[in-house]
């Protein structure tokens, strides 16, 4: 019994705004299931009393002081924009109906 179904792969793809060919869906379903199986293998380890790891680095508290510094200019900020208007807004397809 596979742990990840085809429809779950399609669901996640939709959330991530990705489009796959039917072959790709098959392939990813297969690959994701192999990954989950590997996780099952890890589950066999006894982790009683071991703190969960939230980060790969042992470091904590990397912080900066609250000091404002110059930002990009409006022109630079919009340089990659697919579309913009003369006021300096990014222009996107309408979000809400109206």
């Amino acid at each position: 019994m596979e742990k990840i179904s085809r429809s779950e792969v399609l669901h996640v793809a939709r959330l991530a705004r990705l489009e796959f060919t039917p072959q790709e869906v098959e392939e990813f379903t297969h690959q994701l299931n192999r990954i989950i199986e590997y996780m099952d293998q890890l589950k066999e380890l006894d982790t009683e009393g071991v703190e969960p790891t939230f980060h790969a680095l042992a470091q904590t508290n990397v912080m900066r002081d609250d000091q404002a510094k110059p930002s990009l200019s409006q022109e630079e900020a919009l340089a990659n924009a697919p579309d913009r208007d003369e006021r300096g807004f990014f222009r996107v397809p309408r979000i809400i109906q109206g």
Binding site: T60, Q67, S71, L72, Q74, G88, F89, R91, V92, G98
Partner: protein
């Protein structure tokens, strides 16, 4: 009723109603029973830092669009967010003021969704391990004190702002200046039972944020935003009904009205035997109704996971104590102190502590004239606040200084001017900014209290009205008022009423 008792009553489980004589589940509706609302609030508060939470862009409001962005807050590949220490400090302040337990380790997580105002495709927030949990806030309702639980407080970044074009414009417009402005989210337990309590909770939150100096928390300016989860259930039922989520309430009034409307709507549906649908609703303030937000498919599947770009945050006991030592006196403590030190009623104290500036103003006035804090409270609350209110000003813009209020009360207390004269003097101080003492001198407003001087006038008035004197002596004692009026007329209102009364009675009896 004492607070303890009240809490016990709240906590005591009434017998759970699962079946009614008709054999229906009351949560399913179709019954004529008393319902109560169960409300939880999610409040976002914008923190007043200089720079954004993960990059050094300015948080200044009102700049031209897209002039406060950088590769970090624009979500460019390969950049690294670095946490602003002040944001953590401010969040800890809020957590302490709301009686929360601060987690020694907390973790930032990515909340994944797509929206044009979110350039990275995820919002950095906290999920499994928030900064703080298990707090509470107390509110003073018309039914007495209520304690509202705080589930959690976490830090996160704000999204950008979308502007929608005119009707027919097929575009929306995005400004990323707000992207990355620091927020804390304060999530309450579903302990709120009425729209009034919801409003009081929010107002108390705003007061606390302002006392702490971490946010102006102005709802109209979006510095404080509120979403509500609301369901209703028959009174006594312990299980929860199906809830709806309310959004788009941009003022305290909107929150109260939206909740009132939604309670009625759910009530009607249940009474008619219908079913509440779990959904997100938008408050429409123009029409005064809640409307279904077109459901974004799978909108709530955020696939949170720890953000690998940000290392865990450790709040040591030492850091906690350092922040704790900077906390100001909070509204609840201040209220108790005002009641004790200045013998004020709970109501007066509540009004005076409603803002830190008002409380400071009051205390400064009391310092200048310590013998009559009650009178100073009245002058501040009635005359001063009345005028400021009418002109839409707050205490920071008061043209009258605390010392001037103190001086005015001192003039009354010394018998220099009467309370009635004081109102005129106050009006002039308010208009001109001149000291009450000076106005009194310039206008010769000094009250006539000298007995020998007043005696002469009293005698003269009595001589002029022999008929009225006879009436008094015949038992019509109410006629004293007539003589007082005549004496006031003769002294242009400057006579000290107490002295006049005393003299009149004596002189009238002498003529008996």
């Amino acid at each position: 009723m004492g607070e303890e008792e009240k809490l016990n009553m709240e906590g005591k489980a009434s017998p759970v109603v699962t079946q009614t004589p008709q054999g229906r589940d009351p949560l399913k509706g179709g019954l004529k029973v008393d319902y109560e609302a169960v409300i939880g609030l999610e409040v976002h508060v914008q923190l007043k830092t200089n720079s954004k939470i993960f990059c050094p862009c300015s948080t200044e409001f009102g700049a031209p669009p897209n002039t406060h962005t950088c590769p970090v807050c624009q979500g460019m590949p390969g950049v690294l967010p670095v946490l602003n220490r002040k944001v953590v400090e401010y969040a800890i302040k809020a957590a302490l003021a709301l009686n929360c337990r601060i987690n020694p380790i907390s973790v930032f997580a990515r909340k994944n969704y797509f929206y044009p105002d979110l350039p990275k495709g995820y919002q950095i927030s906290q999920y499994e391990l928030p900064l703080a949990e298990h707090g509470y806030l107390e509110i003073e309702t018309s039914q007495g004190k209520r304690r509202i639980g705080i589930t959690r407080i976490h830090m996160e970044e704000d999204a950008g702002k979308n502007v929608h074009g005119e009707l027919g414009d097929p575009h929306s417009y995005v400004d990323l200046n707000r992207t990355g402005v620091p927020l804390i989210e304060i999530v309450s337990e579903p302990d709120i039972r009425t729209p009034e309590e919801a409003r009081l909770y929010l107002q108390k939150l705003r007061t606390i944020m302002r006392y702490l100096g971490i946010s102006d928390a102005d709802m109209e300016k979006g510095e404080m935003r509120c979403d509500a989860n609301i369901s209703i259930r028959p009174k006594g039922e312990k299980r929860l009904g199906v809830k709806t989520e309310l959004k788009n309430m941009n003022s305290f009034r909107h929150v109260q009205r939206a909740l009132e409307y939604e309670i009625k709507r759910q009530h009607r549906i249940l009474e008619e035997g219908g079913e509440i649908i779990q959904e997100t609703l938008l408050w429409n303030p123009q029409l005064g109704v809640t409307e279904t937000m077109r459901s974004k498919e799978e909108a709530h599947d955020y696939r949170y996971f720890p953000d690998p770009d940000l290392v865990p945050l450790k709040v040591s006991e030492a850091w906690l104590n350092e922040v704790r030592s900077t906390l100001p006196e909070l509204p609840d403590e201040k209220k108790v102190r005002f009641m004790k030190s200045y013998s004020l009623s709970a109501y007066d104290a509540e009004v005076l502590i409603s803002s830190r500036e008002m409380a400071d103003f009051y205390e400064e006035a009391v310092k200048a004239h310590p013998s009559n804090p009650k009178a100073i409270a009245n002058w501040v609350m009635v005359e001063l606040m009345g005028r400021l209110h009418a002109e839409n000003k707050n205490i920071q813009n008061s043209p009258v200084s605390p010392q001037q209020v103190a001086q005015l009360v001192a003039l009354i207390d010394r018998g220099t001017i009467s309370g009635k004269m004081a109102k005129e003097v106050f009006a002039k101080t308010y208009q001109t900014g001149k000291d009450p003492q000076r106005i009194v001198e310039e206008e010769g407003l000094v009250q006539l209290s000298d007995e020998s001087e007043l005696e002469v006038i009293v005698e003269r008035v009595l001589d002029e009205h022999p008929d009225e004197v006879k009436k008094y002596l015949a038992g019509k004692t109410k006629i004293v008022g007539f003589f007082v009026g005549q004496i006031m007329k003769a002294t242009k209102g400057k006579a000290n009423p107490q002295v006049v009364n005393k003299l009149l009675i004596r002189k009238l009896q002498e003529r008996g």
